[in-house]
Amino acid sequence: MGTWTWFHRFGSPPWVYGFAARWAPWFGGAAVACMLIALYGGLVLAPPDYQQKDAFRIVYVHAPVATMSMAVYATMALAAAVGLIWRMKVAHAAAAASAPIGAWFTVATLATGMLWGKPMWGAYWVWDPRLTSELVLLFLYFGYMGLRAGIEDPQKADKASAMLAIVGAVNIPIIKYSVNWWNSLHQPATRLIGEADMVWSMVWPLLLMLAAFFLYFAWILLIRLRAELLRRERNASWIREVVA
């Protein structure tokens, strides 16, 4: 039983509300610190690429946000599944709080990708498999948020959108495969370890930036989760104690 108490605690909105309040500043501080160091490493210390010169430096934003756009969907689908299986209100709230963050990461991925594409490919947009699946991912986020907004009963909205998140998660590999059916213009993913495609002074800012964005996601998620819990539990007695 003892090992499961932490899990049960996460099922309690007041406990999670307090937990989020305690931890959000730490995640925020760590995210900002990592981001600043990684920016210095990426923009100043790392040498220019032999082919792309300084234009490659947008990778320090583009690659981490692209990873996040998918990681957030996975988080959201996982939270939705937990909410559906164990009927956990907090998990549904976390899934709801994740969706807009994931959608923004996806928008940021597309925007930085377009800015990078202009000098490298000569066009802001090309119908490359990766760009296309990222765009479809954005539509999946829109569908999720649209379904949530379209259903008035909050519990129904939770369950229906959770189903959609899971159906989407099953579909994402198929969508990725199907758009790969075309020929790829996108440069293949660069190997970070092994035969060095990138020198270490280019790699560490990238890894640190990825960590920074994970921390940033945790920070924003905790803030949004608190707001979501306040809104959902507005008639509960613990809210009166917390707010007063």
Binding site: V136, F139, G150, K159, A160
Partner: protein, 226 residues
């Protein structure tokens, strides 16, 4: 008394077919919509058949997808409003099988007729005669997969206020693989290529859909009825 799942599914199919043939105008609407969409492209792109031929797979598949979305609204809505779905859910029979039966009827009445009438639109788009059977086969198989995916979104939007646009918003991203492989099969048929690879992949999606979509649709409908 509990009947076997297949028997329940057969009864649902017969009921849906009977109901549909009492409202024949509703059956024709998606078909007419498809024809109109296919007519708009020559008017907007070019009347030259040789150039339309390049656009034909896209025109046929986007037209098929849009008209399938149009018909999807009626898949569960009427039955949800008059309480039939609730009776289905309470009957003790397998809701999964009954919804699968409804989805099959939906394909029989929209997807299949659309595929069979596609050659009429395809002739106008400059598709050569020897490609017609492949065009019909790809649209029929892809349409079945579309109906299965659509059943999930139709179930999910039962509880929503503005169902129509939301239904499209949910279905379109999920339909991307079907469109890619389907349009590729049609493309290969027109250029005289080997259509088997994309058809196998379409078939794989349809099989996956048959396996999982009715389960997901039944879960979605139960959520909507709560």
């Amino acid at each position: 008394m509990k009947t076997r799942p297949l028997e329940a599914a057969r009864l649902v199919m017969l009921r849906d077919l009977r109901l549909a043939f009492r409202k024949p105008s509703q059956l024709l609407q998606p078909l007419m919509f498809f024809m109109i969409v296919a007519t708009l492209f020559p008017l907007t792109l070019t009347p030259e058949l040789s150039r339309l031929r390049d656009a034909a797979p896209g025109v046929l598949w986007v037209g098929a997808l849009l008209s399938s979305l149009l018909a999807l609204e009626f898949l569960f809505r009427d039955d949800a409003q008059d309480g039939t779905l609730e009776q289905f859910a309470l009957s003790g029979q397998s809701l999964t099988w009954m919804l699968f039966a409804k989805t099959c009827v939906h394909w029989l009445l929209t997807g299949l007729p659309l595929a069979l009438s596609a050659p009429v639109a395809a002739v106008g788009l400059g598709v050569p005669a020897q490609a017609m059977w492949s065009v019909v086969a790809s649209l029929a198989l892809g349409g079945f997969a579309l109906s299965l995916i659509g059943a999930i979104s139709a179930g999910l939007t039962l509880g929503a206020r503005r169902g129509g646009v939301l239904l499209s918003l949910l279905t379109l991203p999920l339909a991307v693989p079907i469109l890619v492989f389907g349009a590729d099969a049609t493309q290969r048929a027109i250029t005289g290529g080997e259509i088997a690879p994309p058809m196998y992949l379409l078939g794989a999606i349809a099989v996956l859909g048959v396996t999982l979509a009715p389960l997901a649709a039944a879960a979605a409908v139960r959520i909507g009825l709560e």
